[in-house]
């Protein structure tokens, strides 16, 4: 018996300089950061305040950090693909096909599952409990487990860079290509276990947030008083509960095919590869809306705040959100019109796909009418939002073009498709996340981000986006299919070069973003948010100090209408004083727990062991994970007490600066 399963020295790519070099750089950086943190003596702080934290705010921040790191990793993949295509006209370029295939597979997987999802879930984590006026999510420790399992998935994907290989099958591993016979390496296994483990984390997040939103809202916070972001988060999390189990089941079936010789999707013995295509898109299409619905919520918050107006058509916005939530499950077949469903079925799904644009159209008009007649401030979050409105409209229209089956037969699998989904995801999700991070950053850290560098980030991003992706639409019309490692069509050449220029403009945006963070941290005293309400906000998160204390609210707020905090401020302006505080009480908050981190530690070993067929390690990992749960279940004191004096001190200080700021305002 081989103690290390399939793992040998040949798994390390000594013969391939690019992955080896990048892996060495990454390892050096990681080790460097760890040594620096240890040398500074920050380990106990990190362990107590962050790694074992069950505070939704800290978990949200860590999710966003993970998402930003992975966004950078996925962006480097994008740079490599664009530069490879720029060089590979009648030439092999610098990336051999087997490596190029891994890069586009990793790019898609990382961007959707380990960049966009953590960023969106991170913002949800940070904002939703604050907006609902509660002290934490329904299941705080489970929240930590979710986050760390997502980290395990991200770690496994990145580990494949050094040890072994990643899938070469695209971001969705379609059989029969992904079956053992055609993909005998560990690449697909890395994909399967990374996505499976992080998928469990995502599912738990979905359950956690639906419970939080439906069951733990503060007093008076009826459904139709929830801020729009909470509604979209609710819709997205309901989609997670309905869709992610489909992903789990589908990948489990493929895993059984690969590991135990089952015949779900094989060519022989009655297997049905088309079943995979149907099942994976039954998850895959709702997944798009899981990302974009919370993004719509972010834009709703930002546009309303920076137009100084209530959100126009709140109820129609709620209806549109739930309409999209429902219909997103009725359109999956448009991903494979060309794979033989027949005319009638195609027509039905084509119409459903066009209809879903109606919901988005309603939202578009609502945002426009929110801005109409408002006092618009063109701060960075608002720039991202306006950039989104203009860009998403056209991206959505190319989607409606693809929804027409006869047109899809021409455009399917072409660069047009690549341009379309980048168009909607970058404008819809990346812009939203950037807007959201800039908007809520002062709430999380107590100081604003630098406006100048933020605006530079935006302008480079939107310019880079158009210069990169408009050529790809044209390439699609010129007949270029996606995922080409090299090509010999001279007509394509100028457009591919232009797209390469575009992505380097986008690179400037990434650099500006990093500079913005650094500059803002250096100037944090000048950018300090003293009152906790830097943007003249309308919902409850702005009623807390920045950063909010562990307990968020000294008293659970009593909500009287849709714009809870705006209402409080209006009353304070009318009565020339902020409402008096009730007597303070001791507060019980959930204790920190290393359960999430330890679980993920074992999950990493389980995943790695399964990928490399190291069965003893897998069994050890399972025992460890079970033992962790038992230890957690055995604890006797799940909560700690924050004394009333401490609560009073924090709350009184905040009320004082807030009242002063409100009363010193010019009357409007």
């Amino acid at each position: 018996m081989n103690l290390l399963g399939k793992l040998t020295w040949s798994a390390i790519p000594f013969d391939q300089p690019i992955p080896l070099f990048s892996a060495a750089v990454v390892i050096l950086i990681v080790v460097g950061v760890l040594v620096w943190v240890a040398a500074k003596g920050w380990v106990p702080y990190l362990w107590k305040e962050w790694i074992t934290s069950v505070d939704h705010k800290h978990i949200g921040v860590m999710y966003c950090l993970l998402g930003l790191l992975m966004l950078l990793r996925g962006f480097i993949d994008a740079l490599m693909m664009r530069s490879q295509q720029a060089l590979a006209f009648n030439a092999p370029g610098y990336l051999p096909p087997e490596h190029y295939d891994q890069i586009f597979s990793a790019h898609g997987t990382i961007m959707i599952l380990f960049a966009a999802m953590p960023l969106v879930i991170g913002l949800m984590n940070f904002v939703v409990p604050l907006q609902l006026g509660v002290r934490d999510v329904a299941f705080p420790t489970l929240n930590s487990v979710s986050f760390w399992l997502t980290c395990t998935g991200a770690l496994l994907v990145n580990l494949s860079l050094v040890v072994g290989e990643f899938a070469r099958t695209g971001w969705l591993p379609f059989p029969p290509l992904s079956e053992l016979r055609y993909s005998p390496g560990v690449g697909v296994d890395y994909y399967l276990w990374a996505v499976q483990i992080s998928g469990v984390g995502t599912l738990l997040t979905g359950i956690n947030f639906v419970t939080t939103i439906l069951k733990t809202r503060t007093y008076g916070m009826t459904y139709l008083r929830m801020p729009m972001f909470c509604w979209t988060a609710l819709a997205a999390c309901m989609l997670i509960i309905a869709a992610f189990p489909v992903l789990t089941a589908t990948l489990a079936m493929l895993t059984l095919d690969r590991y135990l010789g089952f015949h779900f999707f094989t060519n022989g013995a009655g297997g049905n590869p088309m079943m995979f295509t149907n099942l994976i898109w039954a998850w895959g299409h709702p997944e798009v809306y899981i990302l974009v619905l919370p993004s719509f919520g972010i834009f709703s918050e930002v546009i309303s705040t920076f137009s100084a107006k209530p959100l126009f058509g709140y109820r129609s916005m709620v209806i549109a959100t739930l309409f999209i939530c429902l219909v997103s499950f009725c359109v999956w077949l448009h991903h494979f019109f060309t794979m033989g469903p027949g005319g009638d079925v195609n027509a039905a799904f084509g119409i459903a796909t066009s209809i879903i644009a109606v919901g988005t159209g309603v939202k578009m008009y609502n945002w426009l009418f929110t801005m109409y007649g408002g006092r618009i401030r063109f701060a960075t979050p608002m720039l991202w939002s306006i950039g989104f409105l203009l860009t998403f409209i056209t991206g959505g229209m190319t989607g409606v073009m693809l929804a027409v089956p006869p047109a899809d037969f021409l455009l399917h699998n072409s660069m047009f498709l690549v341009a379309h989904f980048h168009h909607v995801i970058i404008a819809g999700v990346v812009f939203a996340v950037m807007a959201g991070i800039t908007y809520w950053f002062p709430k999380a850290f107590g100081f604003r981000l630098d406006e100048g560098w933020g605006k530079a980030t935006f302008w480079f991003a939107i310019t880079g986006f158009y210069v990169t992706f408009v050529p790809l639409y044209i390439l699609g019309f010129l007949g270029m299919t996606r995922r080409l490692q090299h090509y010999d069509v001279p007509e394509w050449r100028p457009w591919i070069l232009l797209a390469a220029v575009g992505i380097f403009i986008y690179l400037c945006s990434a650099v500006c973003q990093i500079i913005q963070l650094a500059v803002s941290i250096c100037n944090r005293d000048a950018l300090r948010d003293v009152t906790g309400d830097p943007w003249d906000g309308r919902s409850l998160e702005w009623a807390t100090p920045s950063p909010p204390p562990a307990f968020n609210f000294a008293h659970l707020p009593h909500v009287e209408n849709l714009e809870a905090y705006w209402n409080v401020k209006q009353r304070a302006r009318e009565e020339s004083r902020l409402d008096g505080a009730a007597p303070y009480e001791d507060l019980e908050m959930p204790r920190n727990s290393p359960t999430g981190f330890v679980c993920a530690f074992f999950a990493t070993f389980i995943g790695f062991a399964l990928i490399w067929h190291i069965w003893w390690l897998m069994i050890l990992g399972l025992i460890g994970a079970y033992a962790t749960f038992v230890v957690f279940a055995w604890r006797d004191v799940p909560e700690y007490v924050i004394p009333a004096e401490e609560v009073a001190r924090i709350d009184r200080a905040n009320r004082a600066v807030r009242q002063e700021a409100l009363l010193s305002e010019q009357p409007t």
């Binding site: 489909v246 089952f262 009655g270």
Partner: protein, 219 residues
């Protein structure tokens, strides 16, 4: 319109949530629900997601049920007598799980443990019967690798079996917790989740029994 109403209208341009407003906790204006409700609700959502997993496996079984690839069909390998005993075991175990719930409500440590042991033994009997069915099929060369039909059958029924086994592990842990910690509020909430899980296994089994075994022996 009184002055007070006018102020409200000014503050709340959509008049939302003013008519017929429920003061209920959790789903109205009454503030957060109790911990027991929150935990139970969350666990219901988890069960719902688990049902979605099973529905995918049911769908896969429906697609592949006729894909016998020259191997045996469902009619040839299903033994309804064994399945009837399995069903009886599982349904009875659910009944005794309900008895354990009553014992917990009555705060009777002894009867709680007794009923849980009976629940567990019946669950174990179910698993042993299933294992014997699977190993007999495997021994005669009709394992899951034989055909797509058998793949789907073994996965669907096996997934339920894995759930029952996990349930047994949970049951053991639960009994130890009840023994060590007594009827503390958090332990009772956990026990509520366990009973929901155990009854959920029945629901899935009823679907398997009807859609796989009963339909399979008729076709």
């Amino acid at each position: 319109m009184s002055a007070a109403d006018a102020t409200v209208a000014l503050r709340d341009p959509y008049h939302v949530g003013h008519a017929g407003e429920s003061q209920a906790r959790g789903h109205g204006a009454g503030g957060p629900a109790s911990k027991r409700i929150v935990v139970g609700y969350g666990f219901w959502l988890f069960l719902l997601s688990d049902i979605v997993i099973f529905s995918c496996l049911f769908a896969a079984y429906a697609v592949l049920a006729q894909a016998t690839a020259g191997g045996p069909s469902s009619k040839q390998i299903f033994d309804l007598n064994r399945v009837a005993i399995e069903t009886a075991c599982l349904l009875a175990s659910s009944f005794f799980c309900g008895m354990a719930s009553i014992a917990v409500a009555k705060r009777s440590r002894l009867w709680t443990q007794i009923w849980l042991v009976v629940t567990g033994l019946l669950g174990l009997a179910f698993i042993l019967l299933e294992v014997s069915e699977f190993s007999a099929l495997h021994a005669q060369g009709d394992g899951p690798t034989r055909s797509a039909f058998l793949t789907a059958f073994f996965t669907l029924v096996g997934c339920h079996g894995v759930h029952v086994s996990a349930g047994l592990l949970w049951l053991g842990t639960m009994m130890a917790q009840l023994f060590a910690k007594g009827f503390r509020a958090d332990i009772r909430r956990r026990f509520l989740c366990f009973t929901m899980f155990w009854h959920f296994l029945d629901i899935i089994w009823v679907a398997i029994f009807s859609l796989v075994y009963l339909v399979g022996t008729k076709l």
